[in-house]
């Protein structure tokens, strides 16, 4: 119940404040709509979890005064003026769509067609020799559907980190030619989300098995999984397997 009240004011809040520059404002829109039906049933649980020692009835009251700190959450700020971002934008024209800083981390949104050139520049000229992490995010109802996130680290620029964000439909250029470590990271993102990394030398599934159907981390993949028989006997099981789309027991994570 405590969960329900703040939901409506909180979701729209980021949109006007973040106005133009900020990606998260655009991104949560589909997601915000999706989780709202869920908390209605699950809300009492987290409240009890967070406040294990307190009685649930009493817990509802103190939650209201706790509301004031909420608006004071971190806000993204425009970072396109940062020297690193400005240099990148100058070196690879058209690459940087926007840049912002959030909780001390700089993120640059990159146009997919310029991703490899931007990475090449950052590695060779700016010293981002270490690719920390690469992964994908599924925004189910958005076009283009996926975000590919890359986190770079530079030893020579005072341990600076930079996140690159690329919005792609299903195909993304590979950066394995820039950092070899991207190989397995991209295979994982392909396995989990079905994002195709064009030019990848060995784009096979890595965590699930060959012949597995579907991409498990997509938001429309059922949480209880699919019948593994689908992989072995595709003729006897419908594509996707498990509970069919009309099955009422089918739960979709959002």
């Amino acid at each position: 119940m405590t969960d329900e009240k703040p939901t409506p004011p909180e979701i729209p809040a980021p949109e006007p404040t973040l106005a133009k520059a900020v990606e998260p404002a655009a991104a949560p829109a589909p997601s915000a709509a999706a989780p709202s039906p869920e908390p209605a049933t699950t809300a009492p649980k987290p409240a009890a979890e967070g406040a294990a020692p307190a009685a649930p009835a009493a817990a509802a009251k103190p939650a209201a005064p706790a509301a004031p700190p909420k608006p004071a959450g971190p806000k993204p700020t425009d970072a396109s003026g940062k020297p690193l971002i400005a240099d990148l934008a100058a070196a690879v024209p058209g690459a940087v769509l926007e840049a912002y800083e959030f909780v001390g981390e700089t993120t640059a949104k990159i146009a997919p067609e310029h991703l490899v050139a931007a990475c090449r520049y950052l590695k060779d000229k700016e010293g981002f020799t270490y690719l920390v992490d690469q992964t994908a995010v599924d925004w189910k109802d958005r076009q283009p559907r996926f975000d590919v996130l890359l986190l770079l680290h530079s030893f020579s620029r005072g341990q600076e980190r930079l996140r690159l964000k690329v919005a792609v439909a299903e195909a993304c250029p590979t950066v394995t030619g820039v950092w070899e470590t991207a190989n397995w990271m991209e295979r994982e993102a392909f396995d989990m989300y079905g994002v195709r990394f064009d030019g990848h030398p060995d784009l096979r599934r890595i965590l699930t098995w060959d012949g597995f159907q579907g991409h498990p981390l997509r938001k429309d993949f059922p949480i209880e999984g699919i019948d593994t028989g689908a992989a072995i006997y595709p003729d006897r099981f419908p594509e996707g397997g498990g509970p069919g789309p009309k099955d009422t027991n089918r739960k979709v994570v959002s």
């Binding site: 979890e49 909780v103 992964t135 470590t181 397995w184 890595i206 699930t208």
Partner: protein, 387 residues
């Protein structure tokens, strides 16, 4: 000390394109049920006689869809799932996850809780490195270190049990602090273990450091120099054994690490033997940190274990990444929040998974018998590789 033998790798250049079996080559399955694979790692080897021409890791046998599960649970409920990734170092997993949520929430953790967290982390590092030492030595035929190291690891696990009730899957941190305060007399017990522990480390070193068989099996094996380490994203003791003094506790400090005095041990030759030396030196440094935490906690008694955390944890929408120096390398959590009470996307950057990727390069040109040393030297936990 014998010099590492260079040149063996150059004889067998990596094959371009899909592997074609030559007249003298044979394909060999290694794992997934082989005991020295530390779980369920499968390697498909191409061997020419006893020489490894190429090794292809096949992972995923322990895949449990943890990242999918994260998305169905509220923020506090995620913590026990993190225990089950690197199950021999659960506290660092808890820690990295709590850090990323705290970063997004803007919660400040009380000083006392920070010291207890660091104390737990460093005890965990000792127990993880000690377990590595035991298993890596057994893989190479030295069973005695196992008895010594498990004697001491047992004490650490007992101490964990007394603090949080669990020995492996600790679930010992909460967003904003800790679940419970220390039990009375716990600090004295930790001190009673830690102070004489230096002698135990000497015992391990007596068994192995100058042991001729150990050196024959480890010197010059699985060399991966600094440049290649960074190219492969390899972190932790493997990177430090290559000579790069890079440790997240110093490079991107978190909690109270800037106030603590410790060194970053580095190696020179980037081989298995140097990684062994680095890990043993790290056990000594962790012991130093534990003692400093004990001093601080004894001087500053209190009851503050948790910062101001809202009752319902709903971080603002946006991305954040936080990492800790886990025993195996950089462990990071990449959180994408959408403003709800569940993580919209929580990706783990597991050190084992990334480090394992460099295995084919490390194994190439070695004998099949040395492959167990190569697997051991990376220190992988398959629960973390496959998630």
């Amino acid at each position: 000390m014998t010099e590492p033998t260079p040149g063996t790798v150059a004889q067998f250049p990596p094959l371009a394109g899909p592997p074609l079996l030559g007249l003298h080559e044979m394909e060999l399955n290694f794992g997934p049920q082989h005991p020295s694979t530390h779980g369920v790692l499968r390697l498909v080897l191409q061997v020419d006689g006893e020489r490894i021409v190429s090794a292809r890791p096949d992972v995923g046998y322990l895949h449990r869809g943890t990242e999918k599960l994260f998305e169905t649970e509220t923020f506090p409920m995620v913590i026990p799932h993190t225990d089950r990734m690197d199950y021999v170092a659960a506290s660092t997993n808890n820690h990295a996850y709590c850090l990323v949520v705290e970063k997004l929430l803007g919660v400040e953790v009380p000083k006392r809780a920070q010291y207890i967290r660091v104390l737990l982390d460093e005890m965990q590092r000792i127990s993880s490195h000690v377990l590595w030492l035991a298993t890596a030595a057994i893989d190479l035929g030295a069973i005695t270190p196992f008895f010594y190291t498990f004697r001491d690891r047992e004490v650490i696990l007992d101490l964990f049990e007394e603090y949080c009730g669990a020995r492996l899957t600790l679930n010992c941190m909460r967003i904003g602090g800790l679940p419970v305060d220390l039990t009375p007399g716990w600090l004295e017990k930790v001190r009673a273990f830690t102070e004489p522990f230096e002698k135990c480390i000497d015992e391990y070193e007596d068994l192995l450091t100058e042991n001729r068989i150990w050196k024959e099996r480890t010197v010059g094996i699985a060399v991966l120099d600094e440049k290649r380490c960074i190219e492969w994203g390899v972190t932790g003791p493997v990177l430090r054994a290559a000579g790069k003094a890079w440790d997240i506790r110093r490079a991107l400090p978190y909690e109270c690490y800037p106030e603590l005095d410790f060194d970053i041990p580095v190696g020179k030759n980037a081989d298995t033997y140097d990684r062994y030396l680095v890990r043993v030196a790290e056990i000594r440094q962790s012991r130093r940190i534990v003692l400093q935490c004990l001093d601080w906690l004894e001087k500053n008694p209190g009851t503050e274990i948790r910062g101001k955390v809202p009752r319902v944890i709903k971080p603002p929408a946006g991305e954040a990444y936080a990492c800790v120096e886990a025993p195996k390398g950089e462990l990071g959590f990449h959180l994408v929040a959408s403003g709800g009470n569940k993580p919209y996307r929580l990706h783990v950057r597991p050190p084992s998974f990334i480090n394992l990727q460099a295995l084919p390069e490390m194994a190439q040109g070695h004998l099949v018998g040395d492959l167990v040393a190569v697997i051991g030297t990376i220190d992988i936990v398959l629960g973390e590789v496959d998630r």
